[in-house]
Amino acid sequence: MSKRNKANLKIPNWLKLDNAALIYPSTLSKKYASMFRLTITLNEIVDEKILNEALLNVINRFPSFCYELKKGLFWFYMKKNKLNPIIEEDYNNPMLRINFKKYNNYMFRVRYYDKRIAVEYFHALTDGAGGLKFISTLVGEYIKIKYKERINYNDIVFNPNVKASRREYSDDFYKYARIDSNLEYEKFAYHYKGTLENGSKLNVITGIIPLENLKNMSKKYNCTLTCLITSLLIWSLQKIYYSDKRKYKKKNIKVSIPVNLRNYYNSKTVRNFSSYINIGIYTGYGHYSLEEIINIVKNNMELNLTEKKLNAKFSANVKLSKNFAIRIMPMFIKKHMLSLSEKMLGDNYCTTTLSNLGLITFPKVLEKYIDEVGFAIGKSRGKPGSVSCIGYKDNLYITFTRKIKESEFERLFFTELINNNIPVLIESNRR
């Protein structure tokens, strides 16, 4: 059996959860954990032994990943985990609630199937950007071992033999939070309904779209790609809204867009460091055309995606977690309060989520071996589904995950792209 690379073991025995991660352990239940998944598809079948070796080589390069979740008297915290992480075969239904014990108490799991390597993360551990760095480094090491390649490491593929800096596992929310904070009041958003799938099933549909065509479309509307996709999602949701026969339904259609705060601050952390903005339309004012929606989304993004506004938002959360009354509240009460507040407020403010990791550029050597990438968000407690996208080479991979049987939302979105002469290649986990 391969031994774990012990180059960087000088890490604290325990760590506090970062500010964004505080909520996730409280929402853990028998059937729910906030999960997300990143995949990299190679051009050859994955070798289990090499993958295991690569994992043991890279795990210590990510000190914050070497912890297990523990329950304290007042807060959850992370305790150093001395066991080795394990790998397993991939499943048809991804992102099922992680059973920590099964994975040697790690808050992530590495899976493989055919040519694909997948890593599924519990959100308390890291966010999409941090997760991407981990899987890229893992795949980089895998390729290095298998093909004896020399890799030019960059900001997403780390050198596993270089010691991790303290900044990589710092909680940057506390570092950058200011005193003045502001949590804006928002109205509840519309949720489309459907027939719930049985227990463990999660439907995944990925659309592979040529980036060039999408860029042309966004140029036509003079907006960014995220703005265009968000607008198309809202436009599709608006169609569902008008075909929804329920008499009493919320009138706001909003898409929640996670924002990578590393783009605004000089942060190197691989722990959570993202915020979000909710953008949408109010159907009470009438039917919106796609152009109108794009205008609204574009203006809202310009207004909300500023360092000042984002800082005010996460500073409010930091302020809340520093509140003395909340801090001294025992865990068994706080857990239920946090869970309830997340259930009532978290998912109710948006109709769906669009998480965009952007265009990924691997070192040239790795690109030879990597065919596809993927990013998907797990089940949410309130919303019926979520959307995520990631770009690689000439394609954009848009993944819809949903816990309901009906795929009307996805159909409306992708057929609108077809109507705009943009080809879409579809794959799914349907058996």
């Binding site: 028998k30 499943y91 009493y248 992708f414 077809i418």
Partner: protein
Amino acid sequence: MSFCVNCGVKLKESEKVCPLCNTKVINPNNLKGFDKPVYSLLVDEYNKINHKFVCGLITVILIAVSFITIFCNLIFTGSLSWSIYVLFSIIYLDSKLSFALFKNKYIPYIIELISTELLLFVIAYLNNGLHWYIYLICPIIFVVWAYILICILVLKSKKYNFLRRFAICFSFISLILIVIEGGIDLFKYNVINFNWSVYAVVPIIIISVIIYIISYNNKLLDEIKQRLFI
């Protein structure tokens, strides 16, 4: 490469049905069939609780408690007296595990009835109250049990709207009250003389009828929903 004839999207060679509109993929040019699925066929499952093991463990603990009780009783009094109550209470408690053990939902209800009757029989027998048990308690318990079973059946049936089902269950309470008062009267005076049950039955029947009528009035229901809408 196959295309969905309904929505126009390209489909990966592994897709047998369009995931967007459920249209079957038929490609006459693709004779080799479908590719390996993009996702594994293995299905991940939630952590399952071993009900049999948990129930067995609880039963073992309860048996141990009963033995300790009997042992203490024998040491202190030299005979089995108060420990019999504890023993049968433990059997009664253990019978509740049937709800976790049986897949057939009606078997636990039958076990529940038998265990309740058994516990009360033992109490009555030990206190020379068999007359009280046979003519009063046994029938009342049976009637209440039957009522609970009927309510479960009625509430489960999705044929009628919830208000109608609720009205039916609620109206049955009046029947229960009449039977209870009749039973008590027969036991005590050998003559049935309805008295207090009438005061309860009349409002119950009126409320049930009102709810039943309202359940047919969609306009009124809509008004109520509108007012209570959050």
